[in-house]
Subunit: 426 residues, 2 copies
């Protein structure tokens, strides 16, 4: 019998153990191993492979006990004593907040259901009476328009069934797109709160508990809007409440990656006190009736202009039957002069071309410089102060409201879901 086999009789995968060897102590969770080494997931998030020979091993916590404890917590969720609390539905779509380590590859995969969130964060049960269901379980980069619609239908169903608030667990990568899609689709009488996690639950720096608890606070609040609730700083002190159409993931890994652009956040949740402080006016609970305006035109493209880029890309999309184009231009909303005839071609084919800026901050104005004025003459639609990504989602949505160019243009320059702020004097 190899030493590793002996070891595996003493502890098992998922146990928290310490290994003392050659004067060094390692502590962590036992991961699967294909070698004679014990693989530990350590508290710094890294894995260590340690030979068991001459090592002193202590089991600190059994995996099964941890799971049992969680199961006991959640078993109380549906007890009638919770009936006085507001009803909140957690809809799970996948993502880090609902993910765990895939023992097969060692990478993080989307596996957990909404129920797992409640198991992991028992504090939630003091805020609301939760029910949860997994709508689907995909990595957020695989999100697409039909999933947005499916999610919106599920949200509407939960609201009709009496939910006082909705929490949507979503991967952070494409959360801004899905949140914007819901903002255009759903007129809501209750809060619809997107929440995610930039660090998975197995890491000590995980933001999933803070974010989920703050999201729950917003879900039972008076803010009846589609919003994104995520860490507002590098500490665990506040979570910002972002408007769905004004938020953008602005960092690949930081916990406070989400930022409101061209708008303040609606407000923030003080994690320690649980209080909500607001910066902006918002739609109050029950101030509007539930309404669902489904439908997205999938054949819409977002093109980022770069110097010298060939305008043939517009032709490509037109020839492929695309129905709408958003251009991420430079500065106030420019492309090279060569692109102008292609914008005119699109317009003549009844394909709206909406201009946004790769600056992200600020407003489009194509009336200042010659090129911009030529673009407007060619039919380009100024995307106001919309984020390029939001303009894309909105155009996909607008093209299902009407196929008339003028009607779509009117929708695109009109504020529907807080995506456009009124022009303010400089």
């Amino acid at each position: 019998m190899r030493s590793a086999d002996v070891i595996f009789m003493e502890f098992q995968q998922g146990d928290r153990i310490s290994i003392e060897k050659d004067g060094v102590e390692y502590e962590g969770m036992v991961m699967p191993s294909n070698t004679h080494h014990i693989v530990l997931k350590m508290s710094n998030g890294y894995n260590a492979g340690i030979s068991a020979e001459n090592a002193k091993i202590t089991v600190l916590q059994k995996a099964s006990n941890v799971q049992d404890a969680h199961a006991n917590d959640t078993s109380q969720l549906n007890k009638t004593t919770k009936g006085k609390l507001p009803k909140v539905s957690i809809l799970s779509t996948g993502g880090t907040i609902a993910s765990k380590i895939d023992y097969r590859t060692g990478a993080v995969t989307a596996r957990f259901s909404a129920d797992d969130i409640l198991k992991a964060i028992p504090e939630l049960t003091e805020i609301a009476d939760f029910s949860g269901r997994a709508i689907y379980n995909i990595l957020s980069e695989n999100m697409r328009a039909e999933y947005w619609e499916e999610l919106a239908r599920a949200v509407a169903e939960e609201i009709r069934d009496g939910a006082d608030g909705i929490i949507i667990a979503h991967g952070t990568d494409t959360m801004m797109y899905t949140a914007a899609a819901l903002a255009f689709m759903v007129r809501t009488p209750v809060p619809i709160v997107f929440v995610g996690s930039q660090r998975s639950a197995d890491r000590p720096s995980s933001d999933n508990a803070t974010n989920a608890i703050c999201a729950a606070k917003v879900a039972v609040s008076d803010i009846a809007e589609v919003c994104v609730v995520m860490h507002g700083s590098e500490s665990d002190d506040i979570c910002d409440i972002h408007r769905a159409t004004k938020v953008r993931k602005m960092h690949t890994s930081r916990r406070d990656a989400f930022r409101s652009i061209n708008s303040e956040p609606i407000g923030f949740v003080d994690y320690l006190t649980g209080d909500i402080h607001t910066h902006l006016e918002y739609n109050n609970r029950n101030s509007q009736e539930l309404d669902l305006l489904e439908g997205f035109e999938p054949k819409c493209a977002l093109i980022k202009f770069t110097p010298g880029a060939s305008p043939d890309i517009i032709s490509y999309y037109l020839d492929a039957g695309y129905k709408g184009i958003v251009i991420e231009g430079t500065g106030l909303g420019h492309v090279s002069s060569e692109w102008v005839p292609m914008i005119a071609r699109a317009t003549s084919m009844n394909v709206p071309v909406v201009i946004t800026s790769q600056c992200l901050h600020g407003r489009i104005c194509d009336r200042v410089y010659d090129t911009g004025r030529d673009m407007l003459r060619a039919g380009a639609i100024e995307g106001e102060d919309m984020l390029p990504e939001v303009a894309l989602v909105k155009l996909m949505w607008a093209l299902k409201r009407s196929d008339d160019h003028a009607a779509v243009k009117k929708l695109m320059v009109q504020n529907i879901a807080f995506e456009i702020n009124e022009r303010s004097p400089e």
Copy 2:
């Protein structure tokens, strides 16, 4: 004789006048008018059309005198008394800092030459002994790789001819791309300073004087790098000195639109004292020999991934003979699973695919999630902490250094011009 004709005998286009009428006083510069009204460019930047009837008009300053005064200033530029000052070459490429109102359309066009900047900002002549020439005069959205090369050759020529510093007047829209291009092309013993203006000189809020003066300070400094010097705040107090490969225009209109991303600025110029304060280590003057590494592959594309976007776009570029692709993915650098086979196809055709993030801030890491790992297996190159736009310029440049995939990959993940920071522990 119409009243307007009488008026035009008393003053002319460009004069600064005041008009008193019905108890209101208007003051501004006379613009061309096609009607009987006098059109004034007022100090708030707006135009007013005022009927001359019953108006009292006073000429405050004649246009011709202003120009003469400037002409006198600049006539001293090349006097031998300036010989003791460092020699700085201003190369003009167009853009707002070198623009004026086009009386034909009322819009701002690129018209002025480098010499006009000196005329307009006589303070510059105290900082250095300037010579200037217009390399070309185009709007920055029409910039392209061959202009980058032409500019680099002109810069090298000026340095060989004894310039102690270079100022490049450039439109702000695509300044970041051109600055990055020069950073990859030119190893410089002297400062190469890009400067522009977010507000044209005819507006009271113009930033062109502050920016140009701060740029001149950097041009005579010890910072022998390609950098961008632009307003660092909404006031006229400081200009930031950004690294060419770490800077991005982050607002469509604000004067402090330029921001360093994934890096501090090198430092800043205190406009009032003229002092330079630095945050970072930098290449000192004369620490390296002049070298020019020209050549950009124009057939490179920057593709921004959005949810549900068809991977056919990669096929389109491959079939059109493109040699390199930069993808602006989500989060840590992801695309949908559907895109992975297309990345593999590109790799098999010897076309490098470099992954960057639409988050802009942070670093690519495709080793955490399944999709990322699949992308790496398909040959995707992690763009580290490079801005997507900088990765594009670098890839265009790298493809002219070698046509071997492995060699290009090596260049792409290696720091060449401060575009990649070392990984730091979280």
